[in-house]
C-alpha cells in the first residue's frame, strides 16, 4: 500500500516537473538568441537547462559514490587535495647534455625532487645526431641523446637512487630506459631502486603525434617488454603514461580523447595479460595523461567519466582484484592548441580556466603552458607566470577545500553520463573494426580526429565559433612579435663529436655482437630489454640499435586515408 502511494507521488512529482519545465521553456525560448549555436568546444549540442529529469537514472552509490572508493568518479584518494595537493610539474628540455645537467643541478638545489627530460626530434625518431634527417633539428625542443655517454653527462653528479625522473620518449623508449638503468648501475644504484616515469605510449603516436619507428605490432611488443621487465625488475618505475594529450592536440573532441586513450590503455593491458602477466602486478603502475581544453564543464565531466569507465572495466572485464588496479591516476597539461599568437596575454587567462577544470576534475599532477608557447620556447617570465597560475589556484581560489564540488550538478552529471555512453559507443565501433591496432592501420581513428579538426576550423572560419583575438575582438594592426628561435648549430657539432668519441672508446666487436644478439632476440620473440641493455653498455648508438630492430620489424609509413 505504502509503495503504491510512493509510486503515485513520484509520478505526480514528475508531472509537476514536466509542467514547470514546459512553462519555463516557453518563457526562455521567447528571449533566446536563436542565431547562436550552443555547443561545446567539441561541437556537442548543450541544452539550455538541466534538471533532475537528466539525472534520474543515477544511483548515488553505484555511479558517484565516495572519493577513494569504487567507481572513483569523485577521485582516487579519500582525502584528495586535503591529503596531498596535486604535483606542479613543469616539463622542459634544452640543448646539450651538459646544459641539461647544469639546469638539473639548479632545479634540485631549489628543492625540486623530480626531473623531467625532453628529447630533441631526432632522438624521438631514433636517428643519431649525424643522420641526414637530423639536419637542423639537433638539440632543439629538447636534449639530444646518441649514446650512453650523453646520458652519463645529463645525470652527472645526480644520485639516481634519490630522485624521480620522467622521460618523454616513445618509439625508442626502451633504449632510453636501458641507458638510464646502466647509468644508475655505474653509480651503484640497482634497477629496483629507480623511480620515474616513461611516456612509452606508441599507440597515440600512430593516432596523433606521429613520431614512430616500427609498425604497430612490434612496437606494442616492445612496450610489453618494458612492462614485463619493469614488473619483474623495477617495482618503483612507471613504465607507461597512456596519453590523450596529443590526441586532443591533433584536433580530437573530448569524447575522442577519452575513448581513444582508454582504448589504447586497454590494448596494452590485454597484450600484457596475453604475455602472461598478472593484471594486479602491473596495472597499479599504469598512469594516464590528459589534456585540459577550454570547455570547463565538458573537461570536468571527461575526467570523472574516465575514472568510472576505467574502474568498471578493470574490475569486471580484466578481473583485477586489487583496488589499486581499478584507479585511474592521471597527469594533465593545459591545451597548447587553445593558445594563440594574437594577443598572447590572453593565453594566461585561457590556461587559468583550463587548469581549474583539471583540478576540479581531480588530476594528480598538472603542467600549465606558458603564454608564449605557440611562438617559441617559453621565456623565463612566462614560465614563472605559468607556475604561479597553479599556485594561485591552489592557495587563493578555495577549489581544494572540498572534494569533487561539482558532483550532483544536473549538468555535470548528465555530461559525465553522456561522455561515458559516447565513449562506450566508440569502444564498440573499435571492437567491430577489429581493435585499436586494426583501426590505426586503416586510419579510422586518424580520420575521426581529422574530421573533428576540420569541423572546428570551419566553425572558426564561418565565425560560428569566436576565438578572441583571432576572428573576433581583433586588434587593428596588431604587430605579432615573433621572437626568432636561433638554432644553435654548435649543438649538432658537439653531438657529432660526442658520437665520434664514443665510437673511438668502444669495443667494436662487442658492439657488433650485442647488435646481432638483439636482432636474434627480435626474431625469436624474446623480451628485448636485457639485449638492449647489453647494447647500450657498449656505447652503441641509438640509431644503430633502432636500425638493428628495423632490420627485423620494418619501418612504419603513415596510412594514406585522409
Amino acid at each position: 500500500m505504502a509503495e503504491i502511494r510512493n509510486q503515485a507521488e513520484i509520478s505526480e512529482q514528475a508531472e509537476a516537473l514536466k509542467k514547470a519545465y514546459a512553462e519555463w521553456k516557453t518563457a526562455a525560448d521567447a528571449t533566446t538568441n536563436k542565431n547562436k549555436k550552443y555547443v561545446t568546444v567539441s561541437s556537442e549540442q548543450v541544452d539550455p537547462l538541466y534538471t533532475p529529469a537528466d539525472t534520474k537514472s543515477i544511483d548515488f552509490l553505484r555511479d558517484i559514490g565516495f572519493p577513494g572508493e569504487y567507481p572513483y568518479t569523485r577521485g582516487v584518494h579519500p582525502s584528495m587535495y586535503r591529503g596531498k595537493p596535486w604535483t606542479m610539474r613543469q616539463f622542459s628540455g634544452m640543448g646539450t647534455p651538459e646544459q641539461t645537467n647544469e639546469r638539473y643541478h639548479f632545479l634540485l638545489s631549489q628543492g625540486q625532487h623530480g626531473l623531467s627530460v625532453a628529447f630533441d626530434l631526432p632522438t624521438l625518431m631514433g636517428y643519431d645526431s649525424d643522420h641526414e634527417r637530423s639536419l637542423g633539428e639537433v638539440g632543439k625542443c629538447g636534449v639530444a641523446v646518441d649514446t650512453l655517454l650523453d646520458m652519463e653527462k645529463i645525470f652527472k653528479g645526480i644520485d639516481l637512487g634519490k630522485i624521480s625522473t620522467s622521460m618523454t620518449i616513445n618509439a625508442p623508449a626502451s633504449v632510453l630506459l636501458a641507458m638510464y638503468i646502466v647509468v644508475a648501475e655505474k653509480q651503484g644504484v640497482p634497477a629496483e631502486k629507480l623511480r620515474g616515469t616513461l611516456q612509452n605510449d606508441i599507440l597515440k603516436e600512430y593516432i596523433a603525434q606521429k613520431e614512430w619507428i616500427y609498425p604497430p605490432e612490434p612496437s606494442v611488443k616492445l612496450i610489453v617488454d618494458t612492462i614485463e621487465f619493469g614488473t619483474k625488475k623495477m617495482p618503483l618505475w612507471n613504465t607507461i603514461s597512456i596519453s590523450g594529450y596529443h590526441i586532443r592536440e591533433a584536433g580530437a573532441t573530448a569524447v575522442q580523447e577519452l575513448a581513444f586513450t582508454l582504448a589504447d590503455g586497454f590494448t596494452y593491458i590485454e597484450k600484457s595479460i596475453e604475455r602472461g602477466l598478472d593484471v594486479d602486478e602491473f596495472a597499479p603502475r599504469l598512469s594516464f595523461f590528459f589534456n585540459a581544453h577550454m570547455d570547463f564543464f565538458e573537461e570536468i565531466a571527461k575526467y570523472r567519466a574516465a575514472r568510472r569507465i576505467y574502474a568498471k572495466r578493470m574490475r569486471y572485464k580484466y578481473d583485477a582484484k586489487s583496488e589499486r588496479s581499478w584507479m585511474l591516476r592521471f597527469h594533465t597539461q593545459t591545451a597548447g592548441c587553445s593558445l594563440n599568437a594574437q594577443q598572447p596575454e590572453l593565453n594566461l587567462i585561457r590556461t587559468a580556466y583550463e587548469a581549474m577544470s583539471a583540478v576540479l576534475g581531480g588530476t594528480q599532477s598538472l603542467h600549465t603552458n606558458s603564454m608564449d608557447e605557440t611562438l617559441a620556447l617559453p621565456s623565463d617570465k612566462a614560465a614563472l607566470l605559468a607556475l604561479r597560475t597553479q599556485q594561485v589556484l591552489a592557495e587563493e581560489t578555495g577549489v581544494i577545500n572540498t572534494i569533487d564540488p561539482l558532483a550532483g550538478s544536473y549538468y555535470v552529471e548528465a555530461m559525465t553520463n553522456r561522455m561515458e555512453a559516447e565513449c562506450e559507443a566508440y569502444f564498440a565501433e573499435i571492437d567491430r573494426r577489429g581493435g585499436v591496432m586494426r583501426c590505426i592501420e586503416e586510419g579510422f581513428l586518424q580520420r575521426e580526429i581529422a574530421k573533428a579538426a576540420y569541423t572546428y576550423q570551419r566553425e572558426i572560419d564561418s565565425k560560428e565559433r569566436i576565438i578572441v583575438g583571432v576572428n573576433g575582438y581583433v586588434l587593428e594592426n596588431e604587430q605579432i612579435d615573433i621572437p626568432i628561435l636561433k638554432i644553435d648549430e654548435s649543438v649538432a657539432e658537439l653531438q657529432r663529436q660526442s658520437i665520434k668519441k664514443a665510437k673511438s672508446i668502444r669495443d667494436q666487436d662487442k658492439v657488433t655482437r650485442t647488435l646481432n644478439d638483439l636482432r636474434q632476440a627480435c626474431r625469436d620473440n624474446k623480451n628485448t630489454m636485457p639485449f638492449i641493455i647489453d647494447c647500450v653498455r657498449q656505447y652503441t648508438t641509438m640509431g644503430e640499435i633502432c636500425d638493428a630492430m628495423k632490420d627485423v620489424y620494418g619501418e612504419y609509413i603513415e596510412p594514406p586515408n585522409l
Partner: protein
Amino acid sequence: MSDKIRILLAKAGLDGHDRGIKVIAAAFRDAGFEVIYTGLRQTPEMIVDAALQEDVDAVGVSILSGAHMTLFPAIRKLMEERNCADMILFGGGIMSEDEITELGRKGVSKLYGPGTSTIEIVEYIKGAVAKKRAGEKLV
C-alpha cells in the same frame, strides 16, 4: 569548363604535426581542388619530384619545426632547376614579418601564420592560379 586546379601539399620537418595541413587539404578538396597529399617528413627533393610529375598549379608546404628559412629556399631553388618555376609556392608556419619578407624575395608567393582562415587561403590560391593560367601559352 575551366580546368581543375591541382595542388600538392606536403609536410616538411621531423615533427609530426599534421593537423593544420590536413585541415587545409580538406578545405581545398571541398573547394573543388584536386589535392595530392604526400605526407609527413618530406625533403625538398621529394616535394619537387612529386610536384614535377603531378604537374600541379601550386605547392603548399607546412613547416613547424623551425627549419623554414633553409627549407623554403631549397624547395624554390629545386623548382627553378627542374623547370617548375611557374608553380606557385606557398606555405605555413611560425615566422616573423622579416622572415616572410625575405622568403618572399626568394620566390615564396605567400606564407601564412597560425590562425589564418582556410577561406582566405583557398581564395588566394584560386586567384593566383587564375592569374598564372591567363599568362600561360599552349603546348
